[in-house]
């Protein structure tokens, strides 16, 4: 009797909240369409890489690259790219969905009902974190299914035979799972801290798109002054860079730290923002 609302009920209620609004179909439909488009465009690009246009001014170089693409290693890399088509951009859906899960409660003023039903606000935010990361994983699943349908068809049409179970391919696909989950967590934490849907989306987009360029510019400026190589490694503190480092086998850029550092930093952002969101949510009055 003296038990607070069961954890599993809270998470499944959060899933239900999202699934019972039209936003759900928007997210899933939008994501599927964009992913299909991305893999389609990727196929077109890869086709022209394999068969350079005859009037290309650098045709000789293109033909050399095409030959490299046809080696087993080159073909495997191509398959890996196809299997993760557009994901540097489509993880944005996870970020948006994460912040939507919290901010929609404030926009739609359902937060009163939510906190009346369960006054343990920290548990609600934690349940939302669990739901958001699960939805991130669902995006990954959808993307992987769409890509897994298109990729073999394309590869065989180009007379390449690459097993999708090749290590390079499976590693790329596996690494994008944490990317989706962690961007969803990032968005959720951001939403919990900011509460305003419009502001959370803008800040999320700035972190996502602008972060890379801003950090690169700053680290370059400081490097010009002090000439320390670690400044380049330090770029990983930007979420967009951390994500890039995490999903790139080998080095994402010169002096890039190892992959696990990117993963730890992304997870750190998600957890720190969520913790800050919980503290704020518990303190503030619901109006």
């Amino acid at each position: 009797m003296n038990q607070p609302a069961a954890w599993s009920r809270l998470v499944s209620a959060e899933v239900m909240k999202l699934r019972t609004t039209t936003a759900w179909w928007l997210f899933v439909g939008g994501f599927t369409v964009v992913t299909a488009l991305a893999v389609g465009l990727n196929c077109v690009g890869q086709h022209y890489a394999l068969f350079p246009q005859t009037d290309a001014f650098d045709r000789a170089q293109k033909l050399t690259e095409a030959a490299a693409d046809r080696t087993p290693a080159g073909a495997a890399a191509m398959a890996a790219s196809l299997m993760t088509s557009g994901q540097t951009l489509t993880v944005l859906f996870a970020l948006l969905l994460g912040s939507y899960v919290v901010t929609s409660e404030y926009v739609n003023r359902t937060v009163t009902t939510t906190f009346l039903t369960v006054p343990h606000r920290g548990r609600i935010i934690a349940a939302k974190l669990a739901a958001a990361t699960s939805f991130g994983a669902l995006f990954w699943l959808i993307a992987t299914v769409v890509n897994a349908v298109v990729t073999p068809v394309f590869l065989s049409s180009q007379h390449l035979s690459v097993p999708l179970t090749a290590a390079v391919v499976t590693r790329s696909v596996a690494l994008s799972l944490p990317a989706f989950a962690l961007w969803a967590a990032f968005g959720l934490g951001l939403g919990a801290v900011i509460r305003s849907q419009a502001v959370a989306i803008v800040v999320g987009l700035v972190c996502f798109v602008g972060g890379f360029a801003a950090v690169a510019a700053v680290s370059q400026l400081v490097y010009d002054a002090v000439h320390q190589d670690w400044l380049f490694s330090a770029r990983v503190i930007a979420p967009a860079v951390a994500s890039q480092v995490m999903i790139t086998s080998g080095r994402a850029f010169p002096h890039a730290p190892p992959q696990w550092v990117g993963a730890v930093i992304m997870a750190g952002y998600g957890l720190a923002l969520t913790a800050a969101g919980i503290i704020q949510t518990r303190r503030r009055d619901v109006t």
Binding site: M1, N2, Q3, P4, A5, A6, R9, L10, S12, A13, M16, K17, T20, T21, T22, A23, L26, G30, V33, V34, L37, A38, L41, N42, G45, G86, T88, L89, T90, L92, F93, L96, Y100, S104, V107, N108, R109, T110, T112, T113, F115, L116, T117, V118, P119, H120, Q197, A198, I201, L205, R283, D285, V286, T287
Partner: protein, 291 residues
């Protein structure tokens, strides 16, 4: 390729934000239905005498200060089980703030409010013990009335079918699968009441439940609340509709300017004056209506 995807993602985003905004505006442009008026579809279960004290609502010394303004100033009263307690006051008197503190949505500056001796947030299963209707907009515009209730059922562990039972009990059976966006204000109030009744709780707290209801609806809610109190439940209901309160309440708490100015039975508060209205206007005289 990145540019093309970016444009699509951005378009999606703009659309999503605009849609959310539209949902917030939420004018009830949908078709109005006059729901079938029914008494509750079930006979309210009587609260056993030994459990009655668990329903006592005690507010003691509750104060809420915003900057220099005391919105609620040392408010104390008790809402007894088996009785309807009317919480009266002019607009801006602090009724809603008091109820929000009682329900753990706002933190008091000082003082305490308890239900059966325990703060709301410290109750084991508050949503099963206390049903509350705070605002007519506590439901997502883009969700159906049924789904709104089912989410609450899922959270509290009640069977999902309970949503349908309660919806037909409040006369929204036919509108169950319609989006809340299309509900009239009266239907929203009914949905709020339905949410409060989901767990058949021992304590009901309602903030201005008569708002937006037509005369039939007002009579319905009066009969509903009276029957709940008759079965041993504690009913605390705020309003500024005096004539309605005179018929509904057993006890009254009148606040003005954040302070309690009168408590007692309807008869004792009215005193020798010709009507509750006369008493109310006299007791709340000199208080700004807008604070």
């Amino acid at each position: 390729m990145v540019v093309a995807l970016g444009v699509i993602a951005l378009g999606f985003l703009v659309w999503l934000v605009r849609r959310e905004r539209g949902g917030q505006a939420g004018d009830a442009s949908g078709v109005e239905v006059t729901p079938e008026l029914s008494a509750l579809a079930w006979e309210p279960k009587r609260i056993p005498p030994d459990e009655l004290p668990l329903g006592r609502v005690v507010v003691s010394g509750l104060t809420k200060q915003y900057g220099q303004v005391k919105a609620v100033d040392d408010v104390s009263f008790t809402a007894e089980p088996g009785r309807v307690t009317g919480f009266l006051g002019p607009n801006g008197a602090g009724k809603t703030t008091t109820l929000r503190m009682l329900l753990g949505l706002a933190a008091p500056t000082s003082g305490e409010a308890t239900i059966g001796g325990t703060r709301y947030a410290a109750l084991a299963e508050p949503a099963l013990r206390v049903g509350a209707v705070l605002e007519a907009n506590g439901a997502h515009e883009g969700r159906t009335g049924r789904d709104h209730l089912r989410v609450i059922c899922r959270t509290t562990g009640l069977p999902l079918e309970r949503a349908d039972e309660v919806l037909s009990a409040v006369g929204l059976g036919d509108a169950a699968n319609r989006l809340v966006r299309a509900y009239s204000l009266g239907m929203r109030q009914r949905l709020g009441v339905a949410a409060a009744l989901l767990a058949d709780p021992q304590v009901l707290v309602l903030d201005e439940p008569g708002n937006g209801l037509d005369p039939r609806g007002i009579r319905w809610i009066r009969e509903l609340l009276r029957s709940q109190a008759a079965a041993g439940r504690t009913v605390l209901v705020s309003s500024h509709l005096l004539a309605e309160m005179e018929q509904l309440a057993d006890d009254l708490v009148i606040i003005a300017g954040g302070r309690v100015v009168a408590t007692g039975t309807v008869a004792s508060v009215t005193g020798g004056r010709p009507s509750l209205e006369a008493a109310f206007l006299e007791l709340t005289a000199g208080e700004d209506t807008i604070r």
